[in-house]
Symmetry: C2
Subunit: 402 residues, 2 copies
Amino acid sequence: MSVFFNLISVDDAIGLMKKIAPPMESEVVPLMDACDRVLSGDVVSDIDIPGFDRSWKDGYAVVASDSVSATDAQPTMLTIKGRIQMGSGERLSMKSGEAIYIPTGGQMPLGADAVIMIEHSEEVRDRVLIKRPASVGENVILKNEDFSRGKVVFRGGRRLSPQDIGVLAAVGATSVCVRGKPRVGIISTGIEIVSVDTVPAIGQVRNVNTYLCGAYVQKHGGIAVDYGIVRDDVEAMKNLLCEAASECDLVLISGGSSKDKNDVTAVAMEDVGEIFAHGIALAPGKPTVIGRIGTTPVIGIPGHPAAVVMVLNVVIRHLFAVMVGHSSALAQSRKAVLFENIPSEKGREEYVRIHLNKDGMAVPLFGKSGLLNTIAESDGVIKIPAGCEGLEEGEIVEVMLW
Amino acid sequence: MSVFFNLISVDDAIGLMKKIAPPMESEVVPLMDACDRVLSGDVVSDIDIPGFDRSWKDGYAVVASDSVSATDAQPTMLTIKGRIQMGSGERLSMKSGEAIYIPTGGQMPLGADAVIMIEHSEEVRDRVLIKRPASVGENVILKNEDFSRGKVVFRGGRRLSPQDIGVLAAVGATSVCVRGKPRVGIISTGIEIVSVDTVPAIGQVRNVNTYLCGAYVQKHGGIAVDYGIVRDDVEAMKNLLCEAASECDLVLISGGSSKDKNDVTAVAMEDVGEIFAHGIALAPGKPTVIGRIGTTPVIGIPGHPAAVVMVLNVVIRHLFAVMVGHSSALAQSRKAVLFENIPSEKGREEYVRIHLNKDGMAVPLFGKSGLLNTIAESDGVIKIPAGCEGLEEGEIVEVMLW
């Protein structure tokens, strides 16, 4: 293993992510637990919805042609033939000159073809004054108009919103098949790393990355499994890597991936698995190692939290998207107006961290990227393409949100 | 109780929500479970970060003034005085003419004031060639520069991102005080409602709303508690309402809130609690009842799922925001270009549901709002202010996302 490495482009790193990502198996979950999960197959309706012609307003079922000349000044008078009871299977019938009171959701009587809203009517003993004309079908939802029995309601790959959960309840899906949640093993390495409940001595830092990676994994629908801290010891790293790779769907290692001779990540990965790339043209985040043990992807990320945030969001999100079966869930972006010029001297692709200010403008964060407080302040990142000589204040930019 | 009701404006309904919302008590959660939770108080750092002057790059600690004339063609040669070991508390020292190898995160030697990146150096036996000048402080993070011991890191009211969780790990917050998750009781009412595992007979519909409300509550950080279906029975509703109000922080009832004589929600609410408003100038969603039992807000929403989606997102989200202590978490919006004209004849405030198409344009959904499939298709809603005569194709609109 060379101490120095060859850089691959961010696009190539993303391509590699998509190639090595193992899609999650399906699992069945109760409908009430399925919000934000991704359907693993199509769902069909078990019934017609509605199962009968129903009113969409409280009012009077009428024959539309009876109402053509109805106005406030000259209402049409109809005889009230009856009242629809909610939930009753009985179907009333009526004819021209008659009206039947119908609540929202009630079954349309035979003979009626429209509903006049109660606001446009006035009941007078056993008659009703109709004050607006109705067109055929007005305020009525026809049997079958919404969903048909046996027809697909949602396609596999859809991420379920609360509204979708409501629709699935309507079609009788008490449980649904969704992609499993990826188990993501998290290892932190570095001889200087101490646990969060320890006060670090001079030269030491707390284990920020296990928490940062764990929260990211949870936020994006995975299960974080903490494998603790490995000192700079290749054998310990190899053992832990094998354990984590066999128990998880993905392993993230933070630290130990750079060119320093004591960095053990790449050495251990090469020994117990395979390495596909070492180095991405991304700053911060350059000395990233991408590999696999068996079928489990293993990503070694440089140890600085700023690099971890960048690599997780710019690269690893694509791996996650394939695993959970949904692309847009993990790539939310927002157009914003650039607050100030971004010079780009180098002519090569760059990623610049952005803070969205209270006016929604994109403020580039130029300060020291090594500071934690710029990490907490940043809301996302913009890409400056290769060959671009920078961006100007006032330009519309696409901010990939963290 | 009048069968008819007076409408209040959406703004008044939102004001009422903010007034009756009980802020949640604090609870302590482990840091790893705190992502997306809202801090209930300020967090201060227990240490200086960094606790020592550290390098932010792999490279050589130097005296900046030694490097002023260094170039690729005419590098400056310095004597390697030693190598910094990660995690070592020992502080090396050096002087002009010397350099010390330092890895990212290593403690700066006494006497050095900058770090030359390894890419801009070349080691030759016990010497190193420096090929770029460094300014004082370059690639160095000073003790204290990030956070100071005893100083506030995050203010109460902040919703924690994965990056924030990382920062909290750095400042030793192994657990954090956050706002509790609201327990939200959900009651579905209507004589026509049957459970989701039942095939509805003619005139019946499945209990969509318990799932829709439950998923909404979960998505927005609450705990959904299902109190089942109440038939149109005032006594049963009163008993269940009292039970739910005593066990929960908020109760949502769907159905039974309209003007139909069999609708029991308002009658039961008035008997066991108080009603502040009955009717909102919002379509669909007009016959909403807003009240309270003891200190627990109770909202009766009309039974059609389209109304439930509208009332939850336009009105109840504000109540939720006060309860969980964070406003922007629940009011995400996005600017979009309007795909086609929206006529507004009425001159009064209107809410129009929007689908964001694949180009990100806002397509108004004009179809029957009673259809479930338009609910699943909609991504949010836009507000057309009172007095506005409609919106034109190509205008920029603000879409409140579901």
